[in-house]
């Protein structure tokens, strides 16, 4: 319950117009801080939602696969250069961002993650790091401006941020093979 309140506070805070404007003024912060924070806000609210609608999650997301696919779809959608632009210029898209990231990505991610098996988690790690690596290369080496609302240098910056993100995921992915998981459970 307390988690849900923190999540809600974070959610509302992120949507405050000055906060949202500031976060969206820098491309990297828009994609790598604001968007993940929305996902986290959703994750924090998940236990409360599961408590309110226990059957829904058990029934429709039994093995976690639908949830994780939904998560990936939403994440990939927001990685499109175009959606970033339109979130800034089209009001409806901005609203869709506010709703989709916490509730269609954050909530299913937390619900699915514990249900997924080792294999499923590994697939997600690999896909995410490949995706981030690809986005990084795309943004760094793209000769043209992909987003109308941001400078080219911001685009390159975002590319490097993606590469570091990919690197972080890969390091995490690899280290878990060397660590005895049972030590921590």
């Amino acid at each position: 319950m307390k988690q849900a309140i923190y999540g809600l506070v974070l959610y509302v805070f992120l949507m405050l117009p000055p906060v949202a404007n500031l976060a969206e003024s820098v491309m990297t912060i828009h994609m790598h801080m604001q968007m993940p924070l929305f996902v986290i806000a959703g994750m924090l609210m998940t236990p409360y939602l599961k408590q309110r609608f226990p059957t829904f999650f058990a029934k429709w997301n039994r093995n976690g696969v639908p949830g994780i696919i939904l998560f990936m779809i939403i994440i990939m959608y927001w990685m499109l250069p175009r959606t970033m632009d339109e979130a800034l210029t089209i009001y409806a898209i901005e609203i869709f961002k506010f709703i989709s990231l916490p509730f269609l990505a954050g909530v299913p991610l937390r619900d699915s993650w514990i249900k997924l098996g080792k294999m499923g988690k590994n697939i997600i790690f690999v896909t995410l790091s490949l995706l981030c690596g690809f986005m990084g290369i795309l943004y760094i080496f793209s000769p043209e401006q992909l987003c109308n609302n941001y400078l080219i240098v911001e685009q390159i910056t975002l590319g490097w941020a993606f590469l570091f993100l990919a690197l972080s995921i890969i390091i995490y992915f690899i280290q878990q093979f060397f660590v005895d998981k049972t030590e921590y459970e």
């Binding site: 696919i69 939904l70 499109l80 250069p81 401006q145």
Partner: protein
């Protein structure tokens, strides 16, 4: 078993949702960047050139209807730009050279519009014009002194101009082609010179052939 069914249904629903989302979001898997979406939309909607007053490098003032009856090849620039605009104008000069001379001035006019009216005075434009060997007549460079008119034009044509706070602008670049009635009929990639020149020539040829 019955429970698994729900799960399978959920997967299908989610996947369908994903396909739909991407279909809508990218105009049917066409436009992955806002720029491509914008050009597609412009070509689709063919907006008219709004009534604005231009002031060119020879300090002549006239409305856009001055060019009625002629095709107009347009670019949007600012002269303090150090990268894209230069390239854009160099490429435009090449297109200009590739168009058969008989059409130039008669059936088609070239026009570079500055969106930095404060700094791009007629003198500045005149100097800038000379870099590209534009004659100032069949290829004119002009500013729109009225900020409101300028904004409405940029808005109609979806030209995005962001000042970066240091006197520079970030903007999207393309060749725009308006028809004899002043309607926008095509937006072309400014890096593909030959393609643009061929396209314009073939339009003019087709009309001349009639």
């Amino acid at each position: 078993m019955i429970k698994n069914k729900h799960n399978a249904v959920a997967i299908i629903v989610v996947l369908l949702f994903g396909v739909a989302l991407f279909y809508v979001g990218t105009d049917g898997f066409q436009a992955y960047t806002a720029e491509s979406a914008r050009t597609a939309k412009l070509i689709d909607e063919k907006p008219s050139f709004p009534e604005v007053t231009l002031e060119d490098s020879q300090e002549r003032m006239y409305p856009f209807s001055e060019f009625e009856g002629k095709y107009v090849m347009l670019t949007f620039i600012y002269t303090s730009c150090t990268d894209v605009c230069l390239q854009l104008e160099v490429n435009l000069a090449e297109v200009y050279d590739q168009i058969p001379e008989k059409y130039i001035g008669e059936d088609i006019v070239f026009l570079s519009v500055s969106f930095d009216p404060t700094r791009d005075t007629p003198e500045v434009l005149d100097k800038y014009r000379s870099y590209f060997e534009s004659d100032g007549e069949t290829w004119r460079m002009a500013r729109i002194p009225d900020q409101q008119e300028l904004d409405s034009l940029l808005d109609d044509f979806g030209v995005i101009v962001i000042p970066d706070g240091e006197g520079n602008f970030v903007h999207n670049s393309a060749f725009y082609l308006a028809d004899r009635e002043g309607k926008l009929i095509d937006v072309m990639d400014y890096t593909k010179i030959d393609e643009a020149a061929q396209k314009v020539t073939s339009i003019l040829d087709a009309e001349a052939g009639e």
